[in-house]
């Protein structure tokens, strides 16, 4: 299982932003930090990998499955069932409790039924991230660090081969950011998942297996506007 990108070309028609990537290869179980200045296209790259955006050219392959050959609907399904996504602002639903937020992706995924087994798995992941006593708490009653751990649980629940995280520690205090990241890296490594994290925080970089500068991925011209 690996993530491979090659000769990706993408542009936003609205503002003329263009992105050209040469090659990216990440092995299963590897944790990779993607760093670079703002506007260098890190989030766009995550959106391309997750299938939210469709490249104009090039190839994106996850575990041998060519993403660019899939339609929008199939990419969405792939994202639901095969990927976990973690965002800087957690993106949790405040009207759901911890349990239902963790199960959210499972409830939306086609062909997935929320069974007692799945719920038990969710509880098990939550326990590993220290959330077992918050199971029925409303999201609004949690600290920032706890919320990000809930988001991590949601991302890991359906056993994805790829976990994409966009500034997952951006809203956390130093103590929490290291703890959350360590948990995430450990869980992904244990289960052989790829973890690709976009971050600006250079203090966290030693925790990753590999650090990639966005500039190294881009073709010589770099992103254009």
């Amino acid at each position: 299982m690996a993530l491979e990108l090659e000769n990706i070309g993408f542009g936003y028609a609205s503002d003329g932003f263009k992105l050209s990537l040469l090659k990216l290869h990440i092995q299963a179980g590897e944790s990779v930090a993607l760093v670079g200045p703002s506007g260098s296209g890190k989030t766009t790259l995550l959106n391309l990998i997750s299938g939210i955006l469709e490249p104009e050219q090039g190839s994106i392959s996850i575990a041998g499955q060519e993403l660019t050959s899939l339609g929008a609907r199939q990419r969405r399904r792939q994202r639901l069932k095969g990927m976990g996504m973690i965002f800087q602002s957690f993106e949790l639903l405040d009207y759901l409790d911890v349990r239902d937020n963790i199960l959210l992706q499972a409830r939306l995924a086609p062909g997935v039924t929320v069974t007692a087994d799945l719920e038990q798995r969710a509880l098990s992941i939550a326990s590993e991230l220290g959330l077992e006593d918050k199971w029925h708490r409303p999201i609004t009653a949690l600290s920032q660090g706890e919320r990000q751990r809930v988001a991590a649980c949601r991302a890991l629940l359906l056993d994805p081969s790829l976990v994409l995280a966009d500034e997952p520690t951006g809203n956390l205090d130093p103590e929490n950011k290291q703890a959350v990241l360590d948990h995430l890296i450990a869980l992904c490594a244990r289960d052989g998942r790829i973890l690709l994290v976009v971050t600006h925080d250079h203090s966290l970089l030693p925790s990753f297996d590999r650090v990639i500068e966005m500039a190294d991925l881009l073709s010589s011209e770099g992103p254009e506007r």
Binding site: I52, R73, R76, L80, F87, L93, Y95, D100, L108, V114
Partner: protein
């Protein structure tokens, strides 16, 4: 879809107070016009039906509306009366039969209606249990009275004093219930019917007391003047008519002069009705004859006008509420923009997202419609009684 609905319901549960207030407001503004329309129309139908069945009413000069309300619905605050002799005067015209009504007294909130047996035949009232009134002090009660007061044949009712300070000595009369009428969905359900003479006894115009022509009563007699005996206050008056004391009840003076509240004339034909009307309008100043249908129709005309104003007012409030609801839904959707974005990024389909967003609006509208429908049904059943009480009080 089940999971999507589950998520939608979680949203509704979390925002229940906001949505309840919104639902309540929409229910209210959608139910009120329907309820008012329904109640007023039903009330109009019932009131007019009664008035149509009793086209003419005769009473003492005064308010035609009071006379109509009193004679049709036994609801009048005036105590103006006619002499009982008007019955024979009316019948002597040859145009109609006459039914006397005396509805001055009450048992709690129910009118005691003194009348003749002809009234029951005229209104086609049927006894559910018991028998008709046979002697003084007996009563036949309407189905509503029986139900509300929990009365049946063999029970008793006691008239209410007109005033706490009624020092004239008109004491409450205890009357035995001998019959219960079948429901007629009319004011007769809420009336207690007695013989006209019993209503005079209630008024104190007739009474019964201990025998004064025996040795035991000698000490209570102050003087004798022919057949008249004047006794002191220790003579025991009966406040209930029994088989034992029935013969002691009597009326002083000529009963032809005793009062009645109104007369229902039953013309022999339409021509007789016209002649009777002409006779009373042209030749009698001391009594009035009213066309009760016209009076009630005028009253309802006023009610309809008020109803129209109320419905227009509520309509304006409904429009305002509609706009507020739209604004709430719009703001809610805007507040949920982030949620939609999150769901889309995770991989939710457009349909799932739309269902989750729309459930809030659909639930509020559906629950409001359902509540409004139920309330309208309840109103149709119970509102009419309330409206009649409001109109007739």
């Amino acid at each position: 879809m089940r999971d999507t609905l589950y998520l939608s319901l979680q949203y509704i549960r979390h925002h229940r107070v906001k949505l309840l207030v919104l639902t309540f407001a929409i229910t209210l503004v959608s139910w009120l016009p329907m309820a008012i329309q329904s109640i007023v129309e039903q009330t109009a139908v019932q009131l007019l039906e009664r008035a149509q069945k009793t086209p003419l009413v005769i009473g003492s000069p005064g308010s035609p509306l009071e006379l109509s309300l009193g004679s049709l619905y036994f609801n009048s605050k005036t105590s103006s009366t006619l002499p009982y002799s008007e019955i024979s005067t009316l019948e002597q015209t040859g145009y109609a039969r006459a039914i006397p009504l005396h509805y001055r007294f009450r048992v709690q909130n129910y009118s005691v209606v003194g009348t003749s047996p002809g009234y029951f035949e005229y209104r086609a009232l049927r006894l559910e249990t018991g028998r008709p009134v046979a002697i003084l002090g007996e009563a036949v009660i309407g189905a509503g009275v029986a139900s509300t007061m929990g009365l049946s044949v063999g029970d008793h009712v006691i008239t209410s004093p007109e005033s706490v300070f009624d020092l004239a000595g008109v004491y409450p009369l205890k009357m035995s219930v001998v019959g219960v009428l079948a429901p007629s969905l009319s004011p007769d359900d809420d009336a207690i019917f007695v013989d006209i003479k019993t209503s005079w006894v209630i008024q104190g115009l007739g009474h019964g007391h201990q025998e004064l022509n025996n040795h035991e009563s000698l000490g209570q007699i102050l003087k004798r003047e022919g057949d008249n005996i004047v006794a002191n206050a220790s003579v025991r008056q009966f406040n209930e008519v029994t088989r034992e004391n029935l013969n002691s009840f009597h009326f002083h003076g000529d009963t032809a002069n005793n009062p009645i509240s109104a007369i229902i004339p039953i013309p022999h034909s339409e021509k007789s009705a016209a002649l009777l009307l002409g006779h009373y309008l042209e030749e009698r100043d001391d009594v009035q004859i009213v066309r009760s249908r016209q009076i009630i129709a005028d009253l309802l005309g006023t009610v309809f006008t008020v109803r129209d104003y109320i419905i227009v007012g509520i309509g304006l409030i409904a429009v305002a509420t509609g706009f507020v609801a739209l604004l709430v839904f719009y703001l809610s959707l805007r507040l949920r923009k982030g949620e939609r974005y999150t769901l889309a990024r995770i991989g939710a389909s457009n349909l799932q997202i739309q269902v989750m967003m729309a459930t809030e609006v659909i639930t509020v509208l559906l629950v409001s419609a359902l509540l409004s429908f139920c309330l309208t049904l309840i109103t149709r059943h119970y509102g009419i009684t309330l409206m009649q009480q409001l109109l007739l009080s």
